[in-house]
Amino acid sequence: MEGLTLLAAIALPIAAGALLPVVRWKGRAARDAYILCLTILTTVLATVAIFGNFPRLSLIQFNDRLSFALKLDGIGRLFAGLIALLWPLTTLYALGYMRGTQKEISFFAFFLMSYGISLGIAMSANLVTLYIFYEMLSLSTLPLVMQKGDSGSIRAGLKYLYYSLGGAAFAFIGLVYLVYFGGTTNFVPGGLFRGVAVEHTAQLRLGYLLCFLGFSVKAAVFPVHGWLPTASVAPTPVTALLHAVAVVKSGVFAILRVTYFSFGALVIRASYAQYIPLALTCFTIVFGCSMALKEKHLKRRLAYSTVSNLSYILFGALLLTGQGLAAGLLHLVFHALMKITLFLIAGVYNDRAGIHEVGELHGIGRDWPVLSAAFALGSLAMTGIPPFIGFISKWALAQAAVLSGGLLPYLGLTALLVSALLTGIYLLVPSTFIFIGRRPGNAPGTKPVETEIRISLAALTALMLAAGFFSRPLVDFITRAASGLV
């Protein structure tokens, strides 16, 4: 059955991860090779699935209205592609980073499983399936957050867990509404309620709002963003990939699905169900940046930056126009590229030079010029300086806002600009410091940086830069995917 490719792409890494602790490995190299090969193999499978045209694959029928099914459509392909692209590179980085920590086995076991589960979220054909993978992701990433095992990590992990499950509990309400009013949870472009009677619209709006609030926990919207900065205690590959790409983008992806493929723009538009989420995202955009500015700890600063940027995506999507969605999707991809690069470099600073706070960055550019240059480039991109990708997505968002008109879109536009300014300050100023000044005498010496880390960072930086110059096919694809949905 040809649809099995979809399942294979999901099941392979999960199985591989589950097997990792069980098999007795003949030395570290064999284990590392296994991990890397299986990750790449999964990427290959995912690529085949993305570019092929596989039909929907229904795996389990829970009852007449709920089924566990996989299917790839436009935005699913986009998200799956992003995950499949970034996971092998981060795995490569992690192989270098985690070396010698004695916890590699449990780390990579859950890391691999999370890969499969994230792909599952992208490939879900209906809300139940997405919900299942969503919950599973919370559980599979929990041990990764708590990896270090000290009390701070455990507290951070539990906070993450409670927030995630609490959010999912509220998102569950949306699922109930869909089953009750729509009879199914399948994702349909334009939503299930194209011709719905008026009295139901009012109830559906409430259901949507609760669902949005539920999923917005993973998408770190104010006021339920609190778990993300705390989760920065996790090892860097975890924070980078999961908390800048997979987990938080899953929250955003779920909201996109629910907004455009379940409830539908028709139901939500021009009502409190659109306005409240829009207002929350506008606030979060500025809030995240302000907190980032105040924050001295480097990884937490980047975490707050993620909080802000996720709301850029949601803002675009909540405009409920084709351009808005396209702009949001563009930022989804571009932010992932930029943020993961920044986080991974921050990880090197953290772990190989003992730099945890922004103030300690002085002069590290002398020891690692290329790495720091990449950090500066990433900062420029995040601020939205052309010709880097950050500018392209911000431009698209701004244009979408201007075309929408209305108070909230313009408020969002202002928020975007203020945020750009603040981002400039909280990222570019440290980038400057990196290159001037000297490291204090009592600073720990720099440990050598493994080859795997160098290669992965080089690849990621190259991707980040190239995307700016070759963004057109991507933009075309996204515009096509987005325009049929409204």
């Binding site: 420029l380 601020t383 939205g384 300086i385 052309p386 010709p387 500018f391 392209i392 431009w395 698209a396 701004a398 244009q399 806002a401 201007v402 075309l403 008109g405 313009y410 536009l413 202002t414 600009l417 203020v418 750009a420 300014l421 400039g424 300050i425 570019l428 100023v429 400057t432 001037i436 000044g437 700016g468 110059f469 963004s471 057109r472 933009v475």
Partner: protein, 494 residues
């Protein structure tokens, strides 16, 4: 390929900078380095002249998205600005060959110097708003290291302040670009503007507010109130030749952006007579006045010159915002002359520091005896800056004042000339006394002064200043060809 010259004008200094960083053998010995940089600068002047003579050309570099071309274009405006920039840069560059002997980190200085020139050229030659924004930001980031050059705490703080102000200003400008884009008929700059005033996407009032914010934002680089705070700290801490170009040239980049936005995108007619025009004029006049006042109180020479720049560049803006042909003429004249003058003044100040270590105005007594050539040229520039005929500054200010009076605009038609007059007096107050005391001061300790050694700087430093002073003199006496071309341009734009 059409427009290849445009690309060369940008890539030449950039390539030079890259070669300096990547080919250490070029950078090893001072002589090699200076020769190389000098050659590049001179070649650049040639290229710019060729571009200016070539006529209007467009070159699309690449398309970020379908609607966002990154393109270069040469036209009347770019001719003026690029000529000024290239000339200033070359002159200051030659000066620095000698000056930088006693600063550290010379190697990186020239690379950033050339890169900044490249980005400035690109900015001048930008053909669309987004291109202009791109190079505006780029130029900011590349010029930051020049400000930070000495790596002292003061310099670093000043550099960061410059960075933040610039990013803030650019963001404000970006807001305007965002909102203007759906409202214009052509992404490229069009003489007279391409605004679809009849079918704006937002209300006219909101639009005016946006325009105001945009122009204030771009005005940051030009040091216009209220975004002037960075200038007095950033300009002085840089090495003197860098201060020269920062004050003399990079501020003009801010003016250029405003110029482009007002005359090539929005169109003067849309703004004329609205509160935006009055508000901007207000800001500019305030800056003129305030800059002069602050310069008067300032005792450190370089800082005094920096505040003076704040004031003088806003003369340009005053003329610009009058939205009148004659005033615009005056503005462009002021632009050229201020560039020449301020550049020269900073170089003089640099020479003084280099040779005697004197930084404060009161220490300049009797300096004229020790460095006669330098101080003579200082005096000439001071006179020009004040606006005394027959030197160039006078004509510029005359045109601005006359233009203002002739517009018949409420309040500002008489306020502007008055403020200009007051400012001229203040300028005289803060520039003439040091010049005078340089020659006639220190009489009481006559022996003490003459006992001090002669401190005339080397030819390498003198000649650039001389060239500038000569230009000020000659252009002041024979301004006509400039006035004609400026008038032609101004008419085309309004």
């Amino acid at each position: 390929m059409e427009g290849m010259l445009l690309l060369i004008a940008i890539l030449l200094p950039a390539a030079g900078a890259l070669m300096l960083t990547l080919m250490p053998w070029l950078n090893e010995r001072r002589e090699d380095r200076c020769l190389f940089v000098g050659a590049i600068l001179v070649m650049e002047c040639v290229v710019v002249a060729l571009v200016a003579l070539d006529g209007q050309r467009t070159l699309v570099l690449f398309k970020m998205t379908e609607q966002l071309p990154i393109a270069l274009r040469s036209d009347g405006t770019s001719r003026i600005f690029s000529a000024v920039m290239a000339l200033m840069w070359t002159v200051s560059g030659f000066f620095s060959f000698s000056y930088m002997k006693h600063e550290q980190n010379e190697k990186s200085y020239y690379a950033f110097y050339l890169m900044t020139l490249a980005s400035l050229m690109a900015l001048t030659l930008s053909g669309t708003m987004v291109t202009m924004y791109l190079f505006f930001e780029l130029m900011t980031f590349i010029s930051v290291p020049m400000v930070l050059h000495t790596r002292t705490k003061e310099a670093v703080a000043a550099g960061i302040k410059y960075l933040i102000y610039s990013v803030a200003g650019a963001t404000m400008g970006l807001m305007g670009i965002f909102i203007l884009t759906p409202n214009i008929s052509s992404a490229y700059f069009v003489e007279g503007g391409s605004l679809l005033a009849g079918s704006l996407t937002i209300s006219k009032d909101a639009f005016l507010v946006v325009i105001f914010i945009t122009l204030v934002g771009f005005g940051t680089k030009a040091g216009m109130f209220p975004m002037h705070g960075w200038l007095p700290t950033a300009h002085p801490v840089a090495p003197a030749p860098a201060s020269a170009v920062l004050s003399g040239v990079i501020t003009k980049a801010g003016v250029l952006c405003i110029f482009r936005m007002v005359f090539y995108v929005i169109g003067a007619d849309f703004i004329r007579g609205t509160w935006v025009q009055w508000a901007l004029l207000g800001c500019a006049t305030v800056t003129v006045f305030m800059g002069s006042m602050l310069a008067l109180r300032e005792k450190v020479l370089k800082k005094r010159l920096a505040y003076s720049s704040v004031s003088q560049v806003s003369y340009v803006l005053c003329g610009l915002y009058m939205l009148d042909t004659m005033a615009l003429d005056g503005a462009l004249l002021q632009l050229v002359f201020h560039a020449l003058t301020k550049d020269a003044l900073f170089l003089c100040a640099g020479a003084i520091i280099f040779k005697t270590g004197i930084t404060r105005v009161e220490e300049m007594h009797g300096l004229g005896r020790r460095m006669p050539w330098t101080m003579w040229m200082f005096a000439v520039c001071a006179i020009s800056l004040v606006g005394i005929p027959p030197l160039g500054g006078f004509i510029a200010k005359w045109y601005i004042a006359e233009g203002a009076l002739s517009t018949g605009a409420p309040v500002f038609s008489w306020l502007v000339p008055i403020v200009l007059l007051i400012s001229a007096i203040l300028t005289a107050a803060y520039l003439l006394p040091p010049s005078v005391s340089a020659f006639f001061g220190g009489m009481a300790d006559g022996e003490a002064v003459s006992a001090l050694p002669k401190a005339e700087p080397s030819l390498m430093m003198l000649v650039p200043i001389f060239i500038l002073s000569l230009a000020i003199l000659l252009l002041g006496i024979f301004p006509n060809f400039m006035i004609e071309s400026f008038t032609r341009l101004a008419n085309a734009l309004m």
